[in-house]
């Protein structure tokens, strides 16, 4: 059972905040004058500072990756399945750092923070960010924590993109790069889904061009819709079929019955949407989806992924999931092929899983085994 007292849980954790006031130059050409990063840590940093693991979150993640904030918490952090004593990312062995990315809405400086120049929330004027900006801000966090080189940088989806960016931009500061359910760039189909999500938000009248905080409104409808679209793409056809099928939540399709019919899947999506819209910031969602869209691993390397990966000095683990159609195994194989052609050490596993893109957050036995086995190797190099 999942509780803070479970011996495989990191228990109660406390988020920490670090303030940086050296301006951060961004890919867009602007500087972010000062900013906060919220982060959590699990496990102990060893004497050599060689056992540190950076966990990069995906689109809607945050710093709370493992454990509980208090004894009454019903749910642990978003990757509690994999982080903890005796878990694949074993906190008996590693010092794990998880942060909320810049531009986020769970404590780190983002669109809902106050712009010091105006005294008002940044809103839509918050500078657009790219994965490389996150990596640069994470470097400062590493410096602050006195971590010269990560034993591993790990991320799923958008987090995997950050991990790869680390390997290219700071090759001497990362020994292992673990890329789960990611891609070197989004496909046109992926860009299209993100655009639908952003249109859903921006066409909500409550969005007010992104200035909803000043108007004391929340584009809840638009954000919920955006999340519903996203959620469909994170699940596979099979997963939806087995989870909901065509089951009805209410009403009946009997002839002669004109009551309101609601399918289970409708109710589920609405619930997910409304949950999300009450806990996530719309401008952050716009910013994060754009960062996903703009990511292109090899853009600055003559559009040649092989040339790009020649800059890396670390070993790679790449994992994909069979029914993930948002970041399909084919996208991961492209990463693997580029690494092979660049003569970089790479291990690749394609996990059979019904759960689609969401599988990267779930304790699928073979996935857990592969990650555990690889983390032993990471541990041996600490």
């Amino acid at each position: 059972m999942n509780t803070p007292a479970d011996s495989h849980s990191v228990g109660i954790v406390k988020p920490q905040v670090v303030h940086f006031d050296t301006p951060l130059p961004l890919a867009c050409g602007r500087d972010l004058p000062a900013y906060d990063l919220v982060y959590e840590t699990y496990g102990e940093l060893n004497d050599k500072h060689s056992n540190a693991i950076l966990v990069c979150h995906a689109l809607s993640g945050h710093a709370h990756a493992a454990g509980y904030h208090n004894a009454e918490d019903k749910k642990p952090g978003w990757w509690d399945e994999c982080i903890g004593p005796g878990k694949p990312i074993d906190t008996n062995r590693f010092f794990v750092v998880s942060l909320n990315n810049l531009g986020g809405c769970h404590g780190s400086t983002g669109p809902s923070s106050i712009n010091p120049d105006t005294g008002n929330p940044w809103g839509p004027d918050f500078p657009p960010l790219r994965a490389r900006d996150w990596v640069n801000s994470q470097v400062r966090l590493a410096d602050y924590l006195d971590i010269a080189c990560w034993a591993a940088v790990i991320g799923g989806s958008l987090g995997g993109m950050q991990a790869m960016r680390w390997s290219l931009e700071y090759p001497t500061r990362i020994r292992h790069c673990i890329v789960i359910a990611a891609a070197m760039k989004l496909s046109a189909q992926n860009l299209a889904f993100n655009e639908v999500a952003r249109q859903a938000i921006s066409s909500d009248p409550e969005f007010a061009g992104g200035h909803y905080q000043g108007h004391n409104t929340i584009p809840a409808q638009g954000l919920a819709l955006a999340r519903m679209v996203g959620h469909i793409t994170y699940l596979s056809d099979d997963a939806m079929a087995s989870k909901f099928g065509r089951d009805l939540r209410s009403g009946s399709l009997e002839q002669g019955d004109d009551g309101n019919v609601e399918f289970q899947v409708q109710s589920y999506l609405r619930y997910q949407g409304s949950q999300f819209s009450s806990s996530f910031d719309a401008n952050t969602y716009m910013l994060m989806t754009r960062a996903l869209d703009y990511f292109d691993l090899a853009r600055e390397y003559n559009n040649d992924p092989v040339a790009a990966f020649r800059h890396a000095q670390c070993s790679f683990l790449v994992i994909s999931f069979s029914t993930d159609w948002r970041f399909s195994p084919q996208r991961s194989r492209e990463i693997v092929d580029a690494l092979i052609a660049a003569d970089r050490p790479v291990t690749y596993a394609e996990i059979e899983a019904d759960e689609g893109h969401d599988a990267f957050l779930l304790p699928i036995p073979r996935y857990v085994n592969v990650l555990t086995a690889y983390m032993q190797r990471v541990g041996a190099s600490c």
């Binding site: 070993s315 194989r333 693997v336 092929d337 092979i340 052609a341 003569d343 050490p345 790479v346 291990t347 690749y348 596993a349 394609e350 073979r366 085994n369 592969v370 086995a373 690889y374 032993q376 190797r377 041996a380």
Partner: protein
Amino acid sequence: MRLDLRHIQRWIEPGSRVLDLGCGDGEFLEFLGDQRQVRGTGLEIDGDNITTAISRGLNIVEQNMDAGLANFPDQSFDTVVMAHALQAVHYPDRVLDEMLRIGRECIVTFPNFGHWRCRVHLSTRGRMPVSKFMPHSWYNTPNIHFCTVKDFELLCREKGIQILARDVVGNTERQPVLAGTWPNLFATTAIYHITR
């Protein structure tokens, strides 16, 4: 360690780049790492084998040889090894071509179907041989392209493949003379070091 694998290692340059096709649980790659300090990569499709190989600290890529090896650049490895897998692939000749494209040199081992026991089994019982060495029945065997020592050498000749060395493993370690003299009759496992 299987005998054929112990035979192979002397053909592998210390510190070279080795690709092991169908690397199983990585025992051989680990052995080569220890004995020859090679930089190895293994290809495997069995999940449990992959996990074991990863826990040995090896670089393992989950990939099905039958779907092609086009992702490996020309001459990107010093040696490409395929031990006891030739008979299990869909197109052994194409895999050989690919191996020779990817590697400067290649090492192939396979069970010799021309071994006298197979011949006796087939001729006296009239049924496909099943032995400790080839434990599967014809309908469920992964070995779909059995060949003999002679067959393999003929294929090499047709394809212009140069045989750098041949080695054989007999029924027991005490039979090297028989297997060496009449490999097609007495070799249980044939081992070839080849190049273009």
